[in-house]
Amino acid sequence: MFDALSDRLEGIFGRIRSRGRLSDADVDEALREIRTALLEADVDVGVARSLVAGIRARLVGQDLSKSLSPGQQVVKAVHEQLIEVLGGETLRLSYASSPPTVVLLAGLQGSGKTTTSAKLARWFRQQGRNPLLVGADLQRPAAVEQLRILGEQAGVPVFSEPSDPVAVAAGGLREAQRLGRDVLIVDTAGRLAVDEALMDEVRRVSQSVAPHYTFLVIDAMTGQDAVATARAFHDALALDGVILTKLDGDARGGAALSVKDVVGRPIAFASTGERLADFDLFHPDRMASRILGMGDVLTLIESAEREFDHDVAEQGATALLEGRFTLEDFLSQLQQVKKLGSLGGLLSLMPGVPKELKNNAAIDDGQVAQVEAIIRSMTPRERGEPGVIDGARRARIARGSGTTTQDVNQLLRQFKEAQQLMRSPGLLGGMLGGGGRAKMAQALAERMGDGGPPGTGGLESLMSGDPGLAPGGPGGMARTATGLGLAGAGAKGRPGKKKKGGRVTPKGEGGRGR
């Protein structure tokens, strides 16, 4: 979508450039495209309107017609505007001087309150706290049962009793005091904002425990209704923040912008999966990228961090660094990468990958399985030294994997090409080109701040885009691919622009490396 938006904008500005000057109508046309992109991401109509006004203000005075890439420049302005709206004040949790610190969760049915309660409890435990969960959802059948099971998984006790929600919440508070638990998390029943009786009930639940923090739990897939819901809950409960759930899908989550705008309180947490660990603080910059459909490389890294076997990952990286990445290494890394989902999906998260490839969602899992079968039909020696594979071995491998010798040949040839690419330093730099490189550099700076690990200098400088090593720029990969006869897939090679200046430091992020 980001690609689509920036393409559409490039189209508009391309026409303008040929005329030489930017009229108001041109700007209007660009802003309409931006508005469409926001609406398609489910940003509220009114919020989209005020965002577009903000972007217009940002664009005023910028001489876009002279820019080499006005579309990109406008997208950057949009991105910055979104971060500004989503970010601002962050939630700083402080704990009550007389425990427990009470946290109340409320929201519509099915937004994920019960699961989020358990995730939050786990999060507090990780912060060194001792939470108690209270199951005050007596409405939905088996909701308390669900909370008990999840509480057990999180290692957090659950209090509930079959009375009424107000009594349960008050009882939970007494129980927490009795047991010396220092955080109390109250899960409430899902309710519609228009249901006055239930809204009144949740108000009474809230009064009975006087929460220090009240969070609205809202689904990232929510459409225009997000505003009405957020307003109603805010009016009833005076929200302190928002928890955004189901971010592991492909919804753009424009509701985040709407809710932030209405409630004026930070989005505190984001829930990104079905497991209790899939829960973290909210990152405005990532959400802004997501709403615009930009690759989210940090999320990719984080899920890799959770899913990968770290020893295997380390071995792979070492092999890669030392230029001896074999089919055996490839196979073991492939097993890791598969844990992240489909390879097509993975590619779409990577910035700098040619969009023809992304759009075709080119890699289907059947082909991955075929590649895997071929390698698994090789002996360990063959995997280490593909040079020994002669005609007879080839035929055996093809039979073993249920493929043809042509398939085997093709894989071997392409792996060899890939090996050559791995040795050419431009590749990785090129793949991580553009925004990804800046993000990567930032990620590396953040993560490697304390005592840079030995032996990674080579790749680190590749990723941070050291001009001496990375001749490619954003077009690097596409060019290399074209050079290999992959014009169909890699196609659109922009002339590689050599990056000026030394190490890339993301703008405005300079001071973040510890």
């Binding site: 060194g128 228009v194 249901d195 689904d219 189901k246 753009r252 793949m431 790749l459 290999l484």
Partner: protein, 370 residues
């Protein structure tokens, strides 16, 4: 050619992960060992006893609770709670003498706010503009009337709202959708509706993933007085559905309502699991006669993506639009109908066993406008 991309993707992931994950991990591991254990003291064990894991699906005969006689809710009346959304715009439109640019913008905003979506809204309005220009329509009233008619027509298909049953084999209705849309609740309500219509129903507790999902469906089975087949928690949902079909066939049930775990349409493995459930349920003596996509009315533009993916994967036959008693309008079903031809068949209007009605395009559109 593809193999190369696979290789490159893996290599890149290896490089990134190796650097960012594996190497600094040593440093973190050191830090973690300093702080590890803090906050890990539990004062009290959770009191929940884990649900008994039953290895073989187990037939539970619930005590039948007499259905409470209650009139089915009116869609229009229930949606009426929040009327005034499109109607507000329409009133202001009608008060104007001519259909000017501002009027079009108002109509656009009204449709967008109902979650109809940019593409569909633009298409609908472009058509109306053309007809106005051609003199086919005159004035605001006629434009509004034409819009209503267009919406009604796009929702009213020849496929209709009937839910199919097979006269020979055991019919299976499969309920699918993302997490939290109301699949289990909907099944409870459909069970009530079908038993009231005189059919014998068996529930298959195919959501073996979410904690306490089976218990939730069991409570619905009790409420509606139907039998339920359940399996082990975390077990294979296909096995549960298979068993339910066998059981239903042996006992002469008309219909199996199969619950499935909520899954995001982006999760490849889970979608594969769903395909398997469908394949298993389709084997004689069973036949899948309906695959109902349960869709929450609050869902925005992602609803279209969901519908497309589930349609591709398991051949969805219709949509159940839930939570329409809230302030959300559920306009995404218009886009789904137009783009994918999927009819809305049922509408959920609350949490009670009788809060389910057959979708009526006229009422739906009237509720948007009046």
């Amino acid at each position: 050619m593809l193999a190369l991309w696979i290789i490159l993707a893996v290599v890149l992931a290896t490089a990134v992960v190796g650097l960012v994950v594996a190497v600094p991990r040593r440093a973190r591991a050191r830090r973690a060992s300093d702080t590890g254990g803090a906050g890990a003291t539990t004062i009290e064990k959770p009191t929940a006893a884990p649900a008994p894991a039953v290895a073989t699906p187990d037939l539970v005969s619930p005590p039948v609770e007499a259905p409470v006689e209650k009139a089915a809710p009116e869609l229009r009346e229930r949606m009426g709670k929040t009327r005034g959304l499109i109607s507000g715009y329409v009133r202001s439109l009608r008060s104007r003498s001519s259909v000017d640019e501002e009027a079009w913008e108002d109509l656009e905003e009204a449709l967008l706010r109902a979650d109809v979506g940019v593409v569909t809204t633009t298409a609908l309005l472009a058509d109306l503009r053309g007809r106005l220009r051609a003199g086919e329509l005159r004035g605001a009233d006629e434009v509004v009337a034409a819009l209503r008619e267009d919406l009604r027509r796009s929702l009213d298909t020849d496929k209709g709202t009937a839910l199919a049953l097979d006269p020979e084999r055991t019919s299976v209705w499969l309920f699918v959708g993302v997490n939290g849309v109301g699949k289990t609740t909907t099944i409870g309500k459909v069970a009530r509706r079908e038993t009231t219509a005189g059919r014998s129903v068996l529930l298959a507790a195919g959501d073996t993933f979410r904690a306490a999902a089976v218990e939730q469906l069991e409570q619905w089975a009790q409420r509606t007085g139907v039998e339920i087949v359940r399996g082990a928690e975390g077990g294979d949902p296909s096995a549960v559905v298979f068993d339910a079909v066998q059981r239903a066939s042996a006992r002469g049930n008309d219909l199996v309502l199969a619950d499935t775990a909520g899954r995001l349409h982006t999760k490849v493995n889970l979608v594969e699991e769903l395909k398997k459930i469908r394949r298993v349920a389709d084997r004689p003596p069973g036949l899948v006669t309906e695959v109902l996509l349960v869709l929450d009315a609050t869902t925005g533009q992602n609803g279209l993506t969901q519908a497309r993916q589930f349609l591709d994967a398991v051949g969805v036959t219709g949509v159940v639009l839930t939570k329409l008693d809230g302030s959300a309008k559920g306009g995404i079903v218009i886009a789904i109908q137009r783009e994918l031809g999927l009819p809305v068949k049922l509408v959920g209007l609350g949490e009670g066993p009788d809060d389910l009605v057959t979708f009526d395009p006229d009422e739906f559109v009237d509720a948007l406008f009046d």
